[in-house]
């Protein structure tokens, strides 16, 4: 039988929440970043499911762009992380509280 449409959304939601948990509870900044990618991925999934459900291709176009943006974002984000690592010698977010106060 065909998969009910809402299940895809449920899956996307679950993935998203797992990603959120990772962002909140991990200390390694690289892992945090990966969880962010996970969240993005979940959103993409949701969009494509909707595109299929609504019968048009706009959702896929959005995912296309989201993919491009994610690529750009990852490269810049990793550059920042590298720079942070050079300056602080650590990738533990709890030790980088420069904005404190």
């Amino acid at each position: 039988m065909a998969v009910p449409a809402y299940l895809y959304q449920v899956l996307a939601a679950v993935l998203f929440c797992i990603g959120v948990m990772g962002v909140l509870f991990r200390r390694n900044i690289l892992v945090i970043f990966m969880c962010v990618e996970l969240m993005l991925n979940a959103a993409n999934l949701s969009l494509i499911a909707f595109a299929r459900a609504l019968g048009n291709v706009d959702g896929q176009v959005v995912v296309f762009f989201a993919l491009a943006v994610a690529a750009a974002e990852v490269s810049v984000g990793l550059a920042i992380i590298i720079d942070l690592f050079r300056k602080k010698g650590t990738v533990d977010v709890e030790q980088v509280s420069l904005l404190k106060g």
């Binding site: 962002v23 909140l24 200390r27 977010v93 709890e94 980088v96 509280s97 904005l99 404190k100 106060g101």
Partner: protein, 652 residues
Amino acid sequence: MLQLFWLIPLLPLFGFLLNGLGLKWMPRKAAGWLACGAVGAAFAIGVGALIELIGLPLADRSITHVLFPWIMAGDFHVNVAFMWDPLSAVMTLIVTGVGFLIHVYSLGYMAHDEGFKRYFAYLNLFTFAMLVLVLADNFLLLFVGWEGVGLCSYLLIGFWYTKKSAADAGKKAFIVNRIGDFGVLVAMMLTFWTLGTLTFPEVFHRAQTLLSPGTAIPTAIALLFFLGATGKSAQIPLYVWLPDAMEGPTPVSALIHAATMVTAGVYLFVRASGMFVLAPDALAIVAVVGAVTAIFAATIGLVQTDIKRVLAYSTVSQLGYMFLAVGAGAFVAAIFHLLTHAFFKALLFLGSGSVIEACHHEQDIRKMGGLGAKLPITKTTFIIGSLALAGVPIFAGFFSKDEILYSVFTSQLGGLGKVLWILGAAAALLTAFYITRLVALTFYGKPRDKHIYDHAHESPKVMTVPLVILAILSTVGGFLGLPLAEKANVMHNWLGPWVGGHGAEAPSGAEGAVLHATSHSAGLEVALMAISVALAIIGIWAAWRLYIKDLPRVQELSRKFAGAYRVLWNKYYVDEIYNALFVRPIVDGSRVLWRAFDVGVIDWAVNGTGRVLRGTASYLRPIQNGLAGSYAAAILLGAILIMGYVLLGGWR
């Protein structure tokens, strides 16, 4: 010239601005000449305008020049406008004429003073304000001038502001005046409320039609204005600032506290006489206060030892005469006395200034004596002034004082008038006495302080020439108001139609004093004249005998009547009484209020706000721990809350 009369106040204003703004770079001499020139030019214009005014037919003798519309708020219209009519012309010439002489005198008197330029700036400012006062065509502008002269009085009394007594005297003058100003303000409000206007011609016109004589409103207005007059013109109960005002430079005392500012109250009453005749009860009170003040101040002046204080109390006393005249309905007589008083009182003050200069700023007459030989011009002019003050015929004071006394005696005040006449006559006796005492102790007898006597010298020409001019005026000035000769009485013919209810309308040729009950009786007038002359001579003779021939007896008398002497010398302890009754309670009350309210409540609230904020901030600060993770958690929490709210139907 008539069309340019509105320049008259502006010339001294210009002088003030130049001197005031240019204090740094204006050369000393130039400042003095500029100030004198401004007033002198104003005087010249005034003379020209007066001559042209004389040439106009009787009914046209009032010219208004509007400078600009000032307040236009609904029904309330007030312009900045000046009015040139016989009354304002007379006042203007007094202010500018005597003012000019005093300006010139000051060139000499203040020559060695540090604040020379500041002094002349203030003097010009004062002249401007006073001219605004007398030329205003409405109550509000008059009040502007009124306040302006009050301000200048403060500035000039406290001219030597580093001296505590001078600074205090300045404050006292201003504060006491303020009490009177309250009366003027309320009176103006009442006037506007009932009559709908503040411009003089309209006010008097409407007053005649809208207000009934003797009712509450005109009486209230009159009494409130009188409250202001007691402040500005130093009557009981607000005269207390005038003796202290002698802390200022002597020419200031001459100008402000003898010739011009203190006469503002009298001028106000004469100007508004058209309205005040509707309040005979108020006028009666004015007369009583005036008479009582006259004799009260005269008693104090009997024993004062500071040359200027004697003259100060004399001024209070003479102002009392003017108000007595006003109260009796003799408005022209009041102005006449104002005029003559300006001459001889200014003369006396300037003369005393000359003496003080000669004695190196000594003002205690107990240390003087025999100065006549060293200061001949001063002595002669001073004596002329004294004779005028005492009311000796042919000198100016005689005519004006006499007319007042006659008017009071025959006024509609009836029996009260006779009583007041007695007070006035008694005051005249005392006046003659104290002024002769002053002359005797200063210029005659044996010098009591060798040092002062040796160094005494006559003043320079720039000071003695004004003295001489004033002396001449004090001699012939009285002929402007000859009694018993209706056609020749210049003052009455000039001013009569313009005061006392005839102002600004087509005047009849009748006398201004509409309140005369009895007819003009020549015999009575002569008889009363004779009595006052006799009193004057008695006073002079008694003082002469006592203070020139028999000085030790003075000591004896002062010991015998030590109690009375002490009371008089301490001016009836009025200042102390006021202090206990009014000043101390207010000051103490203020201190309590300050502590309890200002510090306790307001400061507590303001500081408390700061404290609360600081506390809250220190409580909230740990939220910013700089860890991105906790920020992300907060964002998530917020997102969940919002989504929950939306999903549960909260968003419409």
